[in-house]
Symmetry: C2
Subunit: 191 residues, 2 copies
DNA sequence: GTCTATAGAAGGATAGAC
DNA sequence: GTCTATCCTTCTATAGAC
């Protein structure tokens, strides 16, 4: 592995900071300090704070989508993958790497919004496909609509982060997921 | 109605701004401009931006809790109230008046966190009680745990805001709620 | 209570040397 | 490509007159 360029260090610092404090609270100064760089370096490689944030967020989104692809790999029974995904141990205090940015005013800028959309769309698509498969296998009630349910479950996780942060209690994320799983299990018995 | 004091105008402006832009993006200047006040007035009535935000947020939380009390009034069939609550028309772009603050770093301060906790706790309690009643009436499957399910549904709405804002599509909030209602309906048939 | 004027720090970015 | 030095604006608040 070659030594990281200053540019890479800057983007790495931005990725960390976006997760830790969000976009608006991430000052150019804080990026510079964390990557041992100076204003000249940052503004040589990027025209603005928005530009470096965009690149950092695109990378973060891509990384998280690759993780999803592993969790929902083709050889895993669909409801097992879904159960595993919902019950994943998450850093609930810090919040979702992508979702935590959504309530900032700056999210109206496409540079920030598109990477977040790409991530949520990947989550929704994986869950939807899992539920579809479960239906064809007969392990899920035929009355349920996988597309709608996938939106609900994608929302559920994001809401879990909100509750866990509010009450400073990671267990709420687990509890939210368990409630949804119980419903799916119950509903599947009605076939 | 007597004319509002400058103090009331300041708090009113803060309530609006907390909803529109959040705590960190709400500058003392923006509060002053919206209430046609000057720095001297703000800092005469409140020691800091945090202090006025606390009062504004306590009022907002209380107002929303009163709305909940109407929605979940005792004379409404519990599952009807729940269905009505979940399908409420919400301003999904702006986000939840309380929940939109949760991802800011400042939420670690109790002055901001406690009013948000109070609101979510009220939501959770209303839903939990509704589900409990439905169980005793025999309209909800006895296998389901109202407390756990209430956490899931509280999370669901917050996640709905996140998705709606991300995709700039209010319909996602409705879809998330419909998915959850479909599950509850299905699960209730297994009695 | 409300005003005007101002302070000290941080934010976001630029200029120009090396 | 990275550095030092600096610029203008905004943020949060304070001082003191009315």
């Amino acid at each position: 592995m070659p030594k990281p360029s200053k540019r890479d260090q800057l983007v790495g610092a931005a990725k960390e900071l976006l997760w830790e404090v969000g976009f608006e609270a991430m000052s150019p100064r804080s990026i510079q300090e964390r990557s041992a760089a100076r204003p000249g370096s940052l503004y040589h490689h990027f025209p603005s704070k928005l530009a470096i944030a965009q690149e950092a967020l695109q990378e973060a989104s891509q990384e998280e989508i690759l993780r999803l692809n592993d969790i929902f790999a083709a050889d895993i029974p669909p409801l097992d993958a879904l159960r595993h995904y919902l019950l994943l141990k998450r850093n609930a205090f810090q919040g979702c790497r992508l979702g935590r940015l959504v309530h900032e005013a700056s999210i109206e800028q496409e540079a920030l919004r598109l990477p977040v959309m790409a991530y949520f769309e990947a989550v929704r698509a994986h869950i939807s496909r899992s539920l579809d498969q479960a239906k064809s296998e007969g392990t899920l009630n035929a009355d349920l609509d996988p597309k709608t349910l996938a939106v609900s479950l994608t929302a559920l996780i994001q809401g879990g982060y909100v509750l866990a942060r509010t009450f400073q209690d990671e267990a709420l994320m687990q509890q939210a997921a368990e409630g949804a799983l119980a419903l799916i299990t119950e509903a599947s018995r009605t076939r």
